[in-house]
């Protein structure tokens, strides 16, 4: 512990470590893509299938494992993540000897998670976050977590690092993609829904776990899992809070992806309005594209445009949540919290998230173009996913079913989501009608032949 005090906060504190580890990964990805000097891609399983589904785009497992590229990428992923996280752990003053074998053990479990979640049906409907939680929970609640594995269970460290890497994919240029129409649908509605759910959760349902309320509110109103991860970290949510918010969001997304377009079709809403409604209310981006596609090409584009704006809200919402919790929730008295205290409490990785986003939006994109940014983000996305899979596996390994059930607060949490989502749909529907029906403003025209 004494050793840790000699290390400056920037190098020794987890929050700052997430920033510089994230930036090292981003820098390496930029150099690799822009210079083409080396391949920095992380390993990923392609979709695989058994039985009839094999007729789809699934790649046989034997083919995947038979390729040298797969093993090369696997080695790159393990080495990069193990070296960077071990360095962080060393600077935190913990034992490297204990951490390295534990990390490798955790990585093997994470590899199993990614393998399972690449199966055709599981991959199409449930995110790896779900499987990471489930497999972790199964291990911890059956055979138990061995002591040697415990030093690698560092949920927050992995989440914060993943978020800094994710920051690079949040592009500010998206804000004007659908003009004031998109801004009105995505940005007017989102904070109102968050505030409504905060009021409902804390004042009406009297849920005393405020980080859980804000994490669930963000997942409902912004974009599901990614928003839950960001606001959960910003509010200091516990591992169970994140598990609950994400599980609820994932399951309801499956239902909304199928039933929302059906209902929109049944009531005869236009493609533009239906797509915008889907973009503003369905949580996962993949589900947004599919639900929009079910209505037609114009709906698909409208849905994607609105969702693109929602994706850039993640950082801002996380920032405001961090400030709110530092100034209002974590304070011990009625006294006004000073700037110094706010800074002390403020989660520093949010700064890393914003800087990464600013660099991508105002430096890399204008200089090298959108295609290069997309190529860099393809590489970074896998590192982000690995960091999050390590985090969610850690959550599962560190949770028991009883605690999880207790945190559901007798079902209040579920009803907070259901009522919040209904309010979200109603308000988005009103915004869509107001802006896109032609009653108040001109109906915008989307050029689908671009």
């Amino acid at each position: 512990m004494e050793k840790n005090k000699t290390v400056p906060a920037f190098w020794g504190k987890e929050d700052w470590q997430a920033v510089w580890i994230g930036f090292i990964v981003i820098l390496l990805a930029c150099i690799a893509v822009l210079t083409k000097a080396f391949d920095f891609s992380a390993v990923k399983f392609s979709t695989w299938a058994v039985g009839e589904a094999a007729a789809t785009k699934a790649v046989p497992l034997a083919t995947q494992l038979g390729e040298w590229a797969f093993w090369r990428k696997l080695i790159v992923t393990v080495v990069v993540l193990c070296v960077l996280f071990t360095l962080g752990v060393k600077l935190q003053g913990e034992s490297v000897k204990k951490y390295i074998p534990a990390f490798l053990g955790l990585f093997v479990i994470a590899l199993i998670v990614r393998f399972v979640s690449a199966e055709f049906t599981l991959n199409r409907y449930l995110e790896w976050a779900f499987w990471a939680l489930l497999i972790g929970l199964l291990i911890s609640n059956t055979v138990g977590v061995p002591d040697w594995l415990k030093p690698a269970i560092k949920t927050e460290f992995y989440i914060k690092t993943g978020l800094v890497i994710m920051g690079f994919s949040v592009l500010f240029s998206n804000i004007a993609k659908f003009g004031l129409y998109g801004l009105g649908i995505a940005w007017i509605v989102t904070p109102i829904v968050i505030i409504f759910m905060w009021w409902l959760g804390t004042k009406v349902l009297k849920i005393d776990n405020k980080p859980l309320v804000i994490t669930l509110a963000s997942a409902t109103s912004v974009c599901g899992t990614s928003a839950a991860i960001a606001t959960g970290a910003a509010s200091g949510a516990k591992k169970d809070d994140l598990s609950i918010a994400i599980s609820i969001s994932i399951i309801f997304t499956i239902l909304m992806m199928v039933f929302e377009p059906m209902i929109i079709k049944a009531v005869g809403m236009s493609q533009l309005m239906g797509g915008a409604l889907i973009g503003g209310t369905v949580d996962s981006t993949g589900a947004v594209v599919l639900a929009g596609n079910a209505l037609g090409p114009e709906a698909e584009q409208a849905a994607v445009l609105v969702k693109s704006i929602q994706n850039i809200l993640i950082g801002f919402i996380a920032f405001f949540v961090a400030v709110f919790f530092a100034t209002r929730v974590e304070k011990n008295s009625e006294k006004k919290v000073g700037a110094g205290e706010i800074w002390k409490r403020f989660p520093k990785f949010i700064i890393g998230f914003f800087v990464a986003s600013l660099v991508a939006s105002f430096l890399i994109q204008p200089i090298f173009g959108g295609d290069q940014v997309s190529a860099i983000n393809k590489v970074l996305d896998q590192y982000k996913n690995w960091a999050f899979v390590l985090a969610f596996t850690s959550i599962g390994l560190d949770t028991n079913f009883k605690e999880l059930a207790k945190n559901m607060q007798g079902g209040k949490v579920l009803w907070l989501y259901i009522v919040g989502q209904v309010f979200n749909i109603a308000l988005t529907l009103f915004a869509v009608w107001f802006l896109l029906s032609g009653v108040v403003f001109d109906v915008p025209v989307l050029d689908l032949f671009k």
Partner: protein, 93 residues
């Protein structure tokens, strides 16, 4: 809440959970909502997880005459206003 109301609330909640899970499993079992040409599903939670997203999201599909900076100003103003509203609501008992 009285004991009988509490019990009813629990029963309704359990029924809703079961109905939702059965419905989700039914959707998954029947591969509903998927699109043949797309190699992803609801499991792709973030845009960067979607293979070929750059081909799905057509650039410049909508052109606006409102300058970019106006969007940023409105974005920040609304964000600040909503933050103040949140603090105000939270202060009320």
């Amino acid at each position: 809440m009285g004991k009988s109301k509490e019990k009813a609330f629990k029963v309704v909640t359990i029924l809703v959970v079961v109905a939702i899970l059965v419905c989700a499993l039914w959707i998954m079992g029947n591969h509903l909502g998927l699109v043949n040409g797309y190699d992803f599903g609801a499991g792709a939670y973030y845009y960067a997880d979607i293979p070929g997203f750059e081909n799905i999201e057509k650039e410049g599909v909508y052109r606006t005459k409102v300058p970019y900076w106006a969007h940023v100003v409105l974005f920040l103003c609304w964000g600040w206003l909503m933050y103040r509203l949140w603090v105000w609501i939270d202060k009320r008992k």
